[in-house]
Subunit: 335 residues, 2 copies
């Protein structure tokens, strides 16, 4: 591999001149510039990004850690981050945490070790507080994505989870539903806690008694299966608060021999990749995941530019997509 020294020798100039034409960092006589450029072509010289990064302590790259880039919502965010980063000439380094605190820790370390200029992080459910505490010493700025924590001095981008759930519940109550099952998931995930909060907001709006509702918090679905099995106590609508939770919910419905929307209405957050191929088509609160990714890069770039401005939190609006699974002809209306 050719180095700057080779180029300099061939061009008959000093390496410092080569460096300067490479980086456009000071004026050089057009003639010498030409010589340098042709020497570059001739040798097939390419900058050594490592040496460069070492000298400048900047890599023009950012890191992204998500729990699983294969999940639809995250996949979209990844696309958003990728494109926005590419547009700014930033290289993206991607890592999965597999929703595991240890792997998350390792992924963050790895990227920081690789000297990314900044980090975008969708924290794992069990992400310890110590993670972020440890990060604050590092000079690389962090942007929190999707899973936002109050009172943290970081830039953050998320969705209007609470409000979206409230709207969804409003829709369902207006259709006559009074008895819900909410598959709420791991409430250490702030996103899920926000959605659950929104659920109660929605009940309050419609003056529905919270006591009648089934909230499934852990991953064991026994309570749900049980409730579905008993016609007397059966909810008329099931709400899943994320895609994996929807999978569990639909599986439970299936096992109970119930069909949607005939026996019970169903709605989910985040949703599946090809909503129109599902049958029934599922009513979905969809994250503006792509835009969230773009926004995260924007915040990060801004912070890179001005490290001391005060942290900003962005909440993006989500779309309520109404489909068959919460259609009119549900059990709630017929009751």
């Amino acid at each position: 591999m050719a180095t700057m020294v080779d180029v300099a020798r061939i061009a008959g100039v000093s390496i410092s001149t080569v460096s300067h034409v490479l980086n456009g960092t000071r004026n050089v006589e057009p003639a010498t510039r030409k010589k340098v450029q042709s020497a570059i072509e001739q040798t097939g010289y390419r900058q050594d990004t490592l040496a460069r990064a070492m000298r400048r302590s900047r890599t023009e790259s950012i890191g992204l850690v998500v729990s699983d880039a294969g999940e639809p919502a995250f996949a979209e965010m990844v696309h958003g981050v990728e494109n926005a980063a590419a547009e700014r000439g930033l290289t993206l380094l991607l890592a999965n945490s597999a929703e595991d605190a240890d792997r998350e820790q390792r992924a963050v370390r790895t990227l920081l070790d690789r000297r990314v200029d900044g980090l975008i992080l969708a924290r794992a459910a069990a992400s310890p507080d110590s993670l972020l505490a440890g990060l604050r010493d590092d000079k690389a700025p962090i942007v929190l994505l999707d899973r936002l924590y109050r009172d943290l001095p970081f830039d953050q981008v998320g969705g209007e989870n609470r409000d979206s759930m409230r709207q969804l519940v409003g829709h369902l109550t207006s259709r006559g539903h009074r008895r819900f099952a909410v598959i709420a998931g791991d409430l250490r995930v702030p996103t899920l806690q926000e959605r659950l909060d929104g659920f109660f907001d929605g009940l309050r709006d419609a003056e529905v008694d919270p006591v009648d509702q089934l909230i499934v918090k852990d991953s064991s679905l026994d309570a749900l299966t049980h409730a579905l099995g008993d016609p007397a106590s059966r909810p008329t609508a099931v709400i899943a608060c994320s895609t994996p939770l929807a999978v569990q919910g639909l599986t439970a419905l299936e096992a109970s021999g119930l069909s949607t929307p005939a026996d019970v209405a169903f709605a989910t957050f985040d949703g599946f990749a090809y909503p129109d191929l599902f049958s029934p088509r599922l009513t979905t609160v969809r994250q503006p995941a792509y835009d969230m990714g773009v926004a995260a890069v924007g915040l990060l770039a801004d912070r890179l530019a001005s490290p001391d401005s005060s942290p900003r939190t962005l909440r993006l609006r989500q779309a309520l997509e109404l489909r068959e699974s919460t259609e009119l002809h549900s059990v709630a209306e017929r009751a």
Copy 2:
């Protein structure tokens, strides 16, 4: 950030000793080792991976380029690669090519610039031959994943596409199907060409006339929609050769008002994330995607260890998962 010099000073030893305890690269008196270690703790010293990589010209990291880590088949491969890499202490750098030749080129460059020790590459459909040609100069070894090209001097991991399709067709012909539509996709993708080849193998096995078959090669589905619309010429079974092609096929079926498997049987390659939630459940030839990822890392690690052994190609068996969409009670039997 503390450096080796700091540690050496505090421990009262030379930096070379520090380096050697860090890397276990030569014997050091237990007593001095202790001193060094406590100095490390004290200063919170962490190795500078960049400086280290620069010196050793090895980064203990590998790169992976796929067209879209969000697509189910690739997502699985990514997981396989991640875990296998982690197990060997290799850091993974991931990039998407978005099935675009330029972006692929850029992604490869970026990773190589970052000095990955090796690269795993699932080439984009339009990937130019020049890409690989240019790579051969680089010293970093390449492993081709999923999309395999004959007569290329690289290690490769793929699936038994041709044979799987042959089996699938065997299954369908044994159920009475004689008239197929194959959504074959972009035949520049070798995987897809192999699958199409297998289709004709299967026809030959069952002595079915290839002339009666509809092969949809481009992304325009007009021919398919047209064929489905005409009861006289309508195929009794549709085979989609990848997940995105299945989406197109199902959409076309839907638009034609036909249902599966009552009106027409349907089978797909690669498939969807939650096959049991689809209705109808789709018969699927599933890639051992995770294992392919693991195998790719294995090949890469082997080559890193012995750069001059001759290239190997691995073909993994695929699973034919029979589900409702090709069930007995199809139009073909009734005919």
